[in-house]
Symmetry: D3
């Protein structure tokens, strides 16, 4: 049995990096298994990228649930900050499914009155605002800010860290934010450095989602199959 | 140049029926072209069905936009009441894209203080409530109600009309609704009979979306390509 | 049968200008008839102007409905961006009644994630914010901004266009607006120039309301007479 | 100097009754002057009645403000539970203007967690809900309920009190309301009897508005003339 | 019988100052009695200070209610702008209990479309925002601003008035506020000077709460003992 | 180092029961230490009970933080479903502080679209609704329901389980709830039986808060000391 961490985009280097970070988590007591969505866009920036990635993400989950591999899955983590395909994924399984965006937002609201989110491009801002609305955490968010650095340059651009840090400092000061959420799985490796530089909690959704998944498994809590997340009826796909 | 009406599910009989109804619209002065999404589920009930259908819907729009057919499209109508894939579709084109759900909801708010929506299954209710939230029309909706008749039985079940009518009467009375929206494309053929039976406006999103598309084309209004609906960046699909 | 476009203020030159613009609309297939409200303020800036204009507007509609002229009216458009007297007007008729403010706001939400409104004076801003609240579109509006040019100087002041354009550019940039609504009927003539200058959709409520009225007539959709918009009881006016 | 209590409808008997009740208020230390709006509807039920009444109400206030009588007015109370013309009235004067609806709603929120409103006809419910939204008190209101007794039958119908009492009991029990607001000036005379019968606070907006007006005068607090309630510009009424 | 004005902090000099100001109120016709909460923090800045002060405040009210002194109390005013312990206090008595924060916020919404609040430290801002949310007045508030002057320096710092005035001017201009609320009982003595300096209504919650308490007593309105504010059950304190 | 689970009421039997349940949690890898608040009410029902309990709760936390015992605390759990004193507690420490109410509400929103809360008395309902508002989860809650069984009868009344189960069944059916939260620490022992009986996730906040505390400790996430939860200034307690 393992927590299946699925990177909904097709970047295997990003998946490897996430794995490396999660393996170092304190108190880890469940197995982790990492998946990449071949066929998906290389990164998820906007609604259309997200819709394409959802197709491959659901295929991945369906494979775990329908085959013998099913016995290996105890929970799923969706490792894109947009929480790509989260609701649809919950229909396919009774195991807990956690998005890294929602995990970080909920955790931040336990540690601060208002948090800021620093994401990559402006086009992701409305998607995150809509998620905040749906999760109910809009009033706890002091602002969603774009660093204007595309996902795939977070690693390649040597100035990326400094630019994001500067943008975060300005955003936090103007909005009275009390904690910072890293709004992209690609920023995960910065969490400790940035916490030191900012002097306040900095949250990485990937790590948090993994730990929350452990908690829900330990608590034997499952996705409700009454109502919204009932299994889909199979009406034939022509 | 034509308005492309896309049925995001794979039921060709439903597409034919929608076509028949739309062709009888008064004052129609743009060409209409109807499409079905082969590969999609036979009907869209829930998040997962919607996510699968979105994949095929986007493929359809991409085909119109990228090929020579592009010159034929003046607007797109998404003919599922869940407004399946609406935001993603808007990223792929500068032409207007209208969902039949949003069209009906906006129109109903021009004709009544509060409207009711009568849909098929309970599992669709949260999806429509979330759309209402996103469009801003939650306070204008007196309630979203499920008739508990699956999409594909709307045609086959001879009692379907009477059951939906009875459910609508009860819902309208208890919620003080002043107009009724038919919450599924498969109910389109009932619009005039039900208006007579209920004595209040009954709205069918398909017809309304087609007429609103005509309006936007006549007004030369296009989808904004600044911000949320910018064209997606092509980062390679591995 | 004609769509009756009523300018609720007493400026006949503004009415003439609106008529000129609407007559050039593509695909127009219903007759239009334009009315000015003699007795009303020369322009509508604030609650009290609006309340006075409503009195004369309702008189106008009552005249159409109660006399033989009634047969000529198929819908009403209220051509003030404040949607002056809109709810009261809907009580007097079963025909569709559309405000130009609401028409533009609903249309903008079909074309962009968030739109800006550029109006005349600061005192109109709370009125439009309240309308947005009532229509439910507050979250879709990136901001209501005042150009500080009074209605009647929009025509007379040769710098008016440039001032409004500059104010719009600043507002859009700061608020991440993706479309611009012209927040006064007196700005209608600028719609095409400003669209070109801004490179995004610019919406004029008058044209949109006329086209939406055509749609509702074609769809045979009427104002609900159940509930809020029932005809008023005549209890004698002492 | 007197508080001017304006009944916006044309029923002089209702005005007389309100006067009689207000004259018995404890601790009254400002003069009261009562006005009826000849020309207005005999009662205000719906948007259109309200719009007509506003015209005559504003004329009344303008007369006080513009003539020598002005020296007599220290505050205005608008004695219709719909708060007819409230915002427009505030533009015409720097003296406090209080609606009886808002007075009762604010007071009830000081005495209970959630209050119910019992009004006359269903058509008034959306108007009061909109006012609650505008005042911000929607979440403090457990429900707005209609007794289905028209304003002018409150006096003439001998069973009116019992019917309203029964309706109130049911409404309070189902909605967990902790106080009751009488949602029509015509119910004012029932306040003490109903408080006894219900065993919880029952609020009459007329009396409360008069006492709040006294408070604001004593505190030398005036209507802000900066922003929304600036005096209207006179642009000529053609 | 007297209105009991309780300063929930332990500063007797602040209590004396509040008494001096309230005694000069126009039209005062009920006795006033002032209390200080020995044991409380010297000023209330933040949640923890508020929680400690609530303990002593409730003891004070319990003393009035349980002993012969009870006959002296006709209403209670809680003289801290955070409305410290307000809900708990309402459980202990059937007499009206008014917080100075809520009194000022409700009054400001009767005089302006949107008001600003100028408080002391940034740490109080979220507390006041939460109160606004609870009272429902968030949309009527143009902003809560911190002057960054601690409560106890308001008297001792000779530049305090000028610093608060400057901060208020900036805040009002940027937020289009139409009235100013003094967000700390310690600013009460500035109300008239600041009204003159700003040219708009400036509101001091202490005075307003006292006058509103007079109104509620005159109206014989009591705290509802049905539901939320029922007397606490005594289950023994081990 | 231990997670300090504080029962804010004075019932040692309830504390013992909580301890017994938490010790059986799967995957527990941090020490737990349980505290009871002598001096507090025997159970917390209403605002006033909560205010009294907060006083003793804060004393407890202050003792851990200020003495040598401090080294033992790695996080705090507040084991009352009202989340008594939560915000104040966060000011006193940089360690995570989790309320059992918020823990359950956040977890339920990861497992269901809408959840119900079943609490004890009606008087607790508004307190929980206010918490939901503050946490942002109001829209995710299908309803807060009272079983009308006081806290201290949950153990002593042999029919308590059946009565709560019946009330839960009715509430879930009418509100379309998809998961049930046990709205009182005293119901903790029922969690597994009720999950079996209801066939959907049933959540007990105590267990969840303990597991989430483990997660936050493992993630090295602390309460933000920037802004709202800064340490209180000590201004002397007279």
């Amino acid at each position: 049995m393992a927590i299946i961490v699925i990177n909904p985009n097709s970047s295997t280097s990003m998946t490897r990096q996430l794995e490396q970070e999660c393996r170092q988590l304190d108190g880890l007591h469940h197995e982790l298994c990492f998946e990449t969505c071949n066929g998906s866009p290389g990164s998820i920036e906007g609604h259309s990228d997200g819709a394409m990635a959802t197709f491959y993400l659901l295929e991945k989950i369906r494979a775990y649930e329908n085959s013998r591999e099913s016995s290996h899955a105890s929970a799923y983590v969706i490792a894109c900050f947009d929480d790509t395909g989260l609701e649809a994924a919950r229909e396919l399984t009774s195991r807990p499914v956690i998005g890294i965006g929602e995990a970080a937002m909920h955790a931040a609201s336990l540690l601060s009155h208002r948090f800021c989110i620093m994401t990559t491009l402006q086009r992701s801002v409305p998607i995150l605002q809509r998620n905040l609305d749906h999760y109910g955490l809009t009033n706890r968010c002091a602002g969603v800010f774009a660093s204007n650095i595309p996902v795939l340059q977070l690693e390649s651009n040597p100035d990326a860290y400094d630019q994001v840090l500067t943008a975060a400092r300005t955003a936090l000061q103007h909005s009275h934010g009390e904690a910072l959420i890293l709004g992209c799985a690609g920023m995960s490796q910065w969490v400790h450095a940035m916490e030191q530089d900012l002097g306040m909690p900095v949250l990485d959704g990937v790590r948090i989602a993994v730990k929350f998944a452990e908690s829900l498994i330990d608590l034997k809590l499952m996705t409700s199959k009454v109502g919204s997340y009932r299994y889909p009826e199979f009406k034939g796909y022509d």
